[in-house]
Amino acid sequence: MFTCIPVYMCTLLMALNINEVRKDFPIFQRETSPGVPLVYLDSTATSQKPLVVIKAMNDFYRRSNANIHRGVHTLAEEATALYEQARVKISKFINAPSAHQIIYTRNTTESINLVAYSWARANLKAGDLVILTEMEHHSNLVPWHILQAERGVELDFIPVTEDGLLDLDAYKTLLARGPKLVSFTHMSNVLGTINPAAEIIRLAHAAGAVTVVDAAQSVPHFKVDVQALDADFLAFSAHKMCGPTGIGVLYGKMALLESMPPFLGGGDMIREVKLRSFRPNSLPYKFEAGTPAIAEAVGFGAAVDYLSAVGMDAIAAHEHEITEYALERLEEVSGVKVFGPSAQHKGGVTAFTLNGVHPHDVAQILDRDGIAVRAGHHCAQPLHEKFGIPASSRASFYLYNTRDEVDLLINGIYKVKEMFG
C-alpha cells in the first residue's frame, strides 16, 4: 500500500517545512517592540541560531568544559573529542578529503589573512600578479593591499558587468599575464551573484595560479564540494551558517598546507620548543596557536548537523523561491533600484536603493516595523563606487524567511516613500 507515492508528495518531501524550521529558532519568539514580531532579513551579515546549536554550546559549558589536547582527565578527553568531532563533521560537509585540512580560524577574514601571511609571503615576490575581483568584500581586498605595500606584488581585478556578473573574457586576458594567485568570492555579499567558481579555478590552474575562494556566503546557502571545485584554499565562517561567532575555517589542499610556514606562534601549534627554537606541529594544529574557540567549535559541529538534516538542496531551493519573489515585488515599487543579476545567477541577497532616501533612513524606518535590513556599503566600498552609489539597503534571506516577510518588507518600503514623499 506504500508503493505508490504521488508525485506532488515527492516534491513536498524534498521541500523545506518552513513552519517547522522557524520553530527551531528561539529568537523568532521575541518581538522587537510590544506587538511587533521580528522580521530578520540580515542573514548575510550573520544568521540566527537554532536551539540545537545554542544547546550544544550550553551543554559543553555545563558538562564538558576543559581545555583541549594534552589533558588526560575525563573532561579534557571529552572536550578534545567534541572539538575534533566537529572538525570531522565540517570536513564532510564540504567534502574535504581529510579533517586535517580543516584549519579552525576566527572567521573568513582570518582565514584569508592566514593565506596572505603564510602562503603568500613564502611564495610571492615583487612584481608577481594577484588577481582579485571588483566585487570583493574588504576581507579579500585589504590583506592583499597590505601584501602589495610590503612585497610589491601587483593587484588586478576581474571587472564586474552592469548586470553584476564577473567579466570572464576580461579574466582570460588577465590570466595571460601569468598570475600567481587568484582570490575571489564564491557569492557576492552585495549583488548576490553566484560566481562560476569551478570554471574560474580551472582557468586559474591552467594559467599556473593558486586559488582562494571566499566562501563566506556560499557554504551557508548551497552545497559546496571543495573537491569538485578543485579549490586550493576555501574560507568560511560559522556564524553565517547557524553557528556561533568567533570561529571559521580555512580549507586547503594538503600539499599546500604542508608546505606553508606557521602563521601565529604559541601553544598547540608546536611539536617541540627549545629556548631558542621550535618545530611546528602537524596539520591542522600547525595553524591553531593558543587555546581555540572550543565551545564554538562544538556549536559549529551542531550547526553543520542541523543544516545537513534540513538539507542543503532544500535550503537552496527555498531561498531561490523567496529571492525570485522578492525581486518581483521590489521591481513593482517605483524609485527602487535593485543591484545584481537576475534570480538565475543570484543567491538570497537583494541590495537596493530608494530614490531620494538614504539607505540608513530606509533601514531605520523599516526597523520600526521590526524589519531588520542592513544599510551601508556592506564592507564592499569599491563595488558601491563602481555602481556610483555611496551605500545601499540590503535584504537577505535564509532558510527561515517567508514570502509573508517579503510582503512586510515591501509594505515598509511604501511607508518610507510616504514619509519622504
Binding site: 517592540s33 538614504h358 539607505p359 540608513h360 520600526r368 519622504f420
Partner: protein, 131 residues
C-alpha cells in the same frame, strides 16, 4: 523612536538652507563616517574679530547626518570661533530634539566633528572632539 523623523529633520534634509561651498573661504574641512560612507565638507568665512561670518556644508548621507549639518551651520553663523570650539554632543542633540542609539549618533555628530576639526586646524577629525 517615532520622533526620529520629526518634520524638522525631514524638512532640513529635503530643503537645506546652507548646502553649498564658500569660495574663497578661511576654513575648510571634510570627513567621512567610515561605517556608512556619509560625507560632510564644511567651508567657513571669518571676520576680523574671529567670528564666523558665513558657512556652508556639502556632502551626502542619511537624513539625520544632513539635517544635523544644516541645523548646525545655521546656528553657528555669527558665533565666535572660540565658542564653536566649546560646542558638544548635547548641543546638536538639543537642536535635533531626538534620542539616538550609538550607530545613528555618529551620523548626527559627523558635522560637528568636521566643524571642530576645521576650527581647531587639526589634520584629522577624531571622535574625542564630540564626546
Amino acid at each position: 523612536m517615532d520622533d526620529l523623523y520629526r518634520e524638522v529633520i525631514i524638512e532640513h534634509y529635503k530643503n537645506p538652507g546652507y548646502r553649498g561651498k564658500l569660495d574663497p573661504h578661511d576654513i575648510k574641512f571634510a570627513d567621512n563616517n567610515p561605517l556608512c560612507g556619509d560625507h560632510i565638507e564644511i567651508t567657513l568665512r571669518t571676520d576680523e574679530s574671529d567670528r564666523i561670518s558665513d558657512a556652508r556644508f556639502d556632502g551626502h548621507g542619511c537624513a539625520i547626518s544632513q539635517a544635523s549639518a544644516d541645523l548646525l551651520i545655521e546656528s553657528i553663523i555669527g558665533k565666535p570661533l572660540e565658542e564653536v570650539k566649546q560646542l558638544n554632543k548635547e548641543y546638536v542633540l538639543d537642536m535635533l530634539g531626538i534620542d539616538l542609539g550609538p550607530v545613528r549618533l555618529k551620523c548626527a555628530l559627523l558635522s560637528l566633528k568636521v566643524l571642530k576639526a576645521g576650527v581647531y586646524g587639526l589634520g584629522e577629525a577624531s571622535d574625542s572632539l564630540v564626546e
